[in-house]
């Protein structure tokens, strides 16, 4: 049995400080939302709602009641049950997710362009082949040969034909969520089945600070009605639309995330929710939004610990990523730094795999490397048990002075415990030169090409593919604006 490794950045008093301030924000300052049905439901549930301004305040007893209703045990289902993700993680580890919303693709030949549907298919097949990537999220595809209004629907249509894993959908328009839910239901055999086994979860976002637009309220509303789990997301940029300090961004983001979780419980008690503060920082020299500074890592650690310890709600944030535009030393350092610290701070999900350039670009080589990084970080997170068995006491106490350990049973029992990365080199220089003196990007490319040759096609029934096609055709017709 392993001993799970943890890093605590917040003291108990600091967790309580955040909780108290969040309570004050939600009960006295309030939030602004746009969605008349949600407002009516919240008012009926006991929130103070001003329909004209959209101001909503949550009395403290209502907050406490809602938080009690948040399910602490649930499953995000895979299309194939072998990919089910149980929360809390049965071994105390974490799940992993690919980058969402990236609009550029850097392929293995260093070609860089807006993502195309063929590449979405390719990307999804790669996700399927990687053992340490647990679920997918939708890239932001370039609308070639289909309407821009249905990018998410076409993208999901492609993804569902190439994976059996769970996925995280990000609708781009208010009404698109209904079609996305329909498509997921088509794959599992209907909306009742989707409620029992939700093969998708959905992101709904705040607009910092403390404001929620119609589109995201509609996502929340439709998902609550359908029993689709919510990954309640805040995407602030420190110094731009929230305070620049780690504690400041955490407070605002956590209040926004908690507001969505509370609303979900008031609309449909028992809706599975994952707290998903995805924190960024504005670079004060270039004005570019960044995600890999140490200050941002500190913020994420705080947010993960706050939700995990303070609220006992699964927490999810970027668990890898870089501001570098290419696979280089900077990207390596940033990915290591972020993945280690976020995993050890109590995150249930490490997101953002396969990204470069602050999540704007996805790269199959990077995804393959991230797969290895997650494998290593899982090993780290497991910690290590120290006892007579693991130290090899029997062998040590009976050492004769000329023993080797290479052929001992103890070595045989334990040598496979460590994660063996496919893209990292541990060769001698001679051997490394003999293999072509390749760097990690080149080794990742080789491994990726090897995986590509072994892809097994997914098989959806004709009835399902027909239904998916029909939904997409209808969406194109109904959602196209001109």
């Amino acid at each position: 049995m392993g001993s799970i490794l943890k890093t605590k950045i917040l003291t108990t008093k600091e967790i309580e400080f955040f909780q108290e301030k969040i309570q004050v924000l939600l009960s006295t300052k309030g939030i602004h939302i746009e969605h008349s049905e949600v407002m009516a439901l919240l008012q009926e549930a006991g929130a103070e709602v001003s329909p004209e301004s959209g101001l909503v305040k949550f009395p403290i007893p209502l907050i406490e009641k809602a938080l009690k209703q948040v399910p602490r045990k649930f499953t995000l289902a895979g299309i194939d049950p072998k990919y089910d993700m149980e929360f809390p993680h049965p071994q105390g580890l974490f799940y992993t997710r690919t980058c969402t919303g990236g609009m550029f693709y850097l392929n293995e030949n260093d070609e860089y362009h807006h993502i195309l549907l063929d590449e979405v298919a390719e990307w999804t097949r790669l996700i399927e082949a990687l053992d340490n990537i647990d679920f997918w999220s939708l890239p932001s595809t370039n609308p070639v040969d289909f309407p821009a209004e249905t990018i998410d629907i076409h993208t999901l249509n492609t993804v569902l034909r190439n994976t059996k894993k769970h996925g995280w959908v990000q609708p781009y328009e208010a009404n698109n969520i209904k079609y996305l839910i329909e498509m997921a239901a088509a794959v599992v055999g209907g909306k009742d089945e989707l409620r029992k086994r939700p093969i998708i979860s959905a992101i709904c976002c705040s607009v910092p600070a403390l404001s929620f637009k119609y589109m995201d309220m509609n996502i929340l509303y439709e998902c609550c009605k359908a029993g689709v789990p919510i990954q309640a997301c805040s995407l602030p940029a420190a110094g731009a639309n929230v305070p620049i300090t780690p504690s400041g961004i955490v407070l605002v983001a956590s209040a926004e995330v908690l507001a969505m979780i509370i609303m979900a419980q008031l609309i449909a008690p028992g809706t599975p929710c994952i707290a998903t503060p995805l924190l960024f920082e504005m670079d004060m020299q270039t004005t570019v939004t960044t995600q890999a500074s140490i200050a941002t890592t500190i913020s994420r650690m705080m947010a993960m610990q706050l939700f995990a310890e303070g609220y006992d709600i699964p927490a999810h944030t970027y668990g890898t990523g870089t501001d570098s535009c290419l696979l280089d030393g900077q990207s390596g350092f940033e990915q290591a730094s972020i993945s280690h610290m976020v995993a050890l701070s109590g995150a249930s999900i490490l997101g953002g795999a396969g990204q470069l350039e602050t999540a704007k670009t996805i790269s199959p080589q990077q995804l393959v490397i991230d797969n290895d990084i997650f494998g290593m970080v899982r090993q780290l997170k497991r910690g290590y048990v120290v006892d007579e068995e693991t130290v090899g006491w029997d062998d040590i106490i009976s050492l004769s002075g000329t023993d080797g350990f290479i052929n001992k049973d103890h070595t045989y029992r334990y040598f496979r415990d460590g994660y063996r990365a496919k893209t990292f080199s541990r060769d001698s220089k001679t051997a490394w030169e003999g293999k072509g003196s390749k760097d990690i990007a080149a080794r990742a490319k080789d491994y990726y090409l090897k995986l590509k040759n072994k892809y097994t096609p997914m098989e959806l029934t004709k009835a399902v593919t027909d239904e998916l096609d029909a939904i997409v055709t209808r969406a194109d017709k109904e959602l196209r604006k001109k």
Binding site: M103, A240, M284, T286, T287
Partner: protein, 212 residues
């Protein structure tokens, strides 16, 4: 005794009270108001622009210096004629239809104003028709459009096409910006310039205005 150099240094250092004090001293000593503006306040902002471009100053520094400059200008405004107060150019900015992201756009607006440009901010979710209406009304030098989503950036071309249809395309320079954009995309839709970040947006604007 106050001097222009001390005034410009105070602008650079973001010392608002000192700027106000020095401006008042210079006025009391009989200095020409326009000279105080040009050789004190704007000279300071010129240094700020240079240091920012060289990576020696940061955006909050620039904004603080701009606040100081404006505090000085407020005192001098009643003493200046309307022609003296002419801006370096007029810019309309907005986020395109269907897009609610505005952080970058707001920052561009602030930096443009700090740089002496007159900025008309139409907000977010602005339709091509609204852009064209604003161009007709305000007759800007530059129309700046921002988008953060691949789904919404297509509205930029719609706006450019509508400007052409209304006979306005050659009356205004179009600059675009936002995370999903690139120089290639900007060129493909017929924009005049692509700004990869807020600081470049200001430099590009001034360059386009100077060329016109």
């Amino acid at each position: 005794m106050a001097c222009y150099e001390e005034l410009s240094e105070s602008v650079v250092s973001g010392m608002r009270k000192k700027v106000i004090e020095l401006v008042n001293e210079l006025i009391a000593a009989g200095h020409e108001p326009m000279k105080i503006v040009n050789e004190g306040l704007l000279a300071g902002m010129g240094i700020v622009a240079e240091e920012f471009k060289n990576g020696e100053m940061f955006v909050p520094d620039v904004l603080m210096s701009a606040k100081c400059m404006n505090s000085g200008l407020e005192i001098l405004k009643p003493l200046l004629s309307e022609s003296d107060m002419k801006s370096q150019g007029k810019v309309i900015i907005a986020t395109v239809q269907g897009d609610l992201h505005d952080i970058g756009k707001n920052l561009v607006g602030m930096l443009m104003e700090s740089g002496g440009l007159e900025v008309i901010d139409l907000g977010v979710d602005v339709s091509p028709e609204k852009f064209v209406e604003a161009v007709k009304l305000h007759q800007p030098n530059i129309l700046g459009m921002a988008a953060l989503l691949t789904t919404t950036m297509i509205c930029m071309k719609d706006t450019i096409d509508l400007l052409a249809k209304e006979g306005l395309r050659d009356k205004v320079k179009v600059m675009v910006g936002g995370a999903p954009l690139s120089q290639n995309y900007s060129d493909s839709i017929g924009a005049d310039a692509f700004a990869p970040d807020a600081a470049t947006a200001v430099t590009l604007c001034k360059s386009l205005i100077a060329q016109a």
